[in-house]
Amino acid sequence: MLMFLIFIALLALICINVPIAIALAMAGVMGLLATEGVSSLVSIALDMYSGSTKFSLIAIPMFVLAGAIMNAGGITDKLINFVSAIIGFVRGGLAMVNIGVSLFFAEISGSAVADVAAMGSILIPQMKKRGYSAPFSAAVTSSSASLAIIIPPSIPMILYASSSNTSVEQLFVAGVVPGLLGAAGLMLVAYVFARRYNLPTEEAFNVKRLRETFIDALPAFTLPIIILGGIFGGYVTATEAAGLAVVAALVVSAWYRNLDLRHLRRAMLDGGIQTAVVMLLVASSVLMGGFLTRAQVPQDIANAILNITNEQWVILLILNFFFLVVGFFLHSAAAIILVVPIVIPLITAAGIDPVHFGLVVTLNLAIGQQTPPVASVLITSCAVARANIWDVSKVNIWFILVLLFVLLLCTYVPSVPLFLVEYFYR
């Protein structure tokens, strides 16, 4: 009964727009007061401090900063030119370029809004000028930016790893194959649209142009080389890779002579605020998590579901549905911090690989970014394209179906996300 009341209070606070971090913390305080009395309130200060000092999460401000420097440093243009030289000759070439650049770029900064605003504001006006409809341009930008949430580095994956005591490096590796499959699927849908609406090709394939744009974009590739090569090769941890990513972003932006002190200060500030917003959620979750653990709520939920079924595929189906619904209403960081610690005992008891489940959760939340009411990535794309959200959603449904297909594939064929993990780590 107490748990039910606390859950209702939490829901009510979220519905009246109390910041989710504070709603979570207040729910934890209510639980503490009800079960352990006023003397336990000192846990507020202790938990809020210990929750904000999780060393593994230092990767978050570093990746956020690297992304913000890249956004400010003009690297986007070089990537767009290079990807355009590779794939621009295909019908609907600019849509392909959009998807290709998103894979590299989006979600690095942890703020898909900032990334979509930065990249979309270059590509969407060009697409509209070349005859692409505004809803189609926004749908391609939005869905590809969300897919990039599963391509390393990914802030939601770092948060999942911290909430579930899973290796963030293994999660990063697990995201690569599904990410590439998803991108191929999105490109296929874009191609079908391009054929049907006779969308234009860009310039013809030209080896000389490819070579020139590759050389121009070469410094920008140091970032994925450091992050992926360093982590996959076992040379650095995710936190160390994040630190090196900042160095690389600074060097590359200086190389392109696009970074001044004003931009750097802005990048530092954006990084600081985004980190604080996510970390306050993490700290409050410690307060709530302490209460839930003492009340044995995660174990009770695990036992209740295991009493109904212990079939992995049914449990995954239930959790997929649950996370899809959660994704409609919560931002990815809030959803992970709120829900993952509660369902992890169930995952462990059912014998599901937590790395596999991490990818399933992240993909669900990527789809959630495309579905109103809480769909910041979709809303940003619509704002850039000056398109109505419902018109965009009508086109976007085809791209969401691709993401759903990748989700089902990863859920029920675990070797798709896990075979690289097995190869590198097990």
Partner: protein
């Protein structure tokens, strides 16, 4: 400019400068530590100091985010209810936020009193009272920022404007203006 706006602008400048400074410091610490580790040298203080920096960024940055109303929330339900109930809900929600941070400041000072005479493990000359002072100070700053930003939040919510959507529009307009010459 009203007194509240002026106070908000001053606090915004101070918190912005401090948050940027903390980010610069954390970045330098992480980069130096990583490069040193790759060169075969490890700093015993790195983990402890970096974690403390993260905590400071969390709370000083959170106060700034409160001043700019940037914390993650969900306003769709609130904005869809009649104005009278909506504004009553806003008042109640603000009271909940302030109550939490009053409790955090109060218990933060209690903890600081207990920590008298304790020092960091790796840097034995740094008092833990100093590093954990971020909890009560951060809570007080959050309260100030929440109160200073309340009038704007009140006006926008009354007018049915979503702060998240307004922020997105602002970001998009800035980027479109920046990239306008190219398109």
């Amino acid at each position: 400019m009203t007194l509240i706006n002026r106070l908000a602008a001053i606090l915004d400048f101070i918190l912005e400068t401090f948050t940027v400074l903390l980010m610069v410091l954390l970045t330098l610490i992480v980069i130096v530590a990583v490069l040193a580790r790759l060169a075969g040298e490890s700093f015993s203080w790195y983990d402890e100091v970096a974690a403390i920096m993260l905590s400071w960024i969390t709370y000083y940055g959170s106060a700034l985010a409160a001043l700019r109303r940037r914390h993650i929330g969900f306003d769709s339900v609130l904005l869809s209810i009649p104005v009278r109930f909506r504004m009553a809900a806003v008042l109640f929600g603000e009271a909940v936020v302030l109550t939490f941070f009053v409790l955090m400041a109060y218990t933060g000072f209690q903890v600081l009193a207990v920590l008298q005479g304790s020092y960091l493990v790796s840097l034995t000359w740094v008092p833990i009272q100093f590093t954990q002072s971020v909890i009560p100070i951060g809570a007080i700053l959050f309260i100030l920022c929440q109160l200073l930003s309340l009038p704007t939040y009140w006006q926008k919510t009354r007018a049915g404007i979503s702060l998240e959507h307004a922020e997105i529009e602002e970001e998009v307009d800035a980027e479109l203006a920046k990239n306008a010459p190219r398109t």
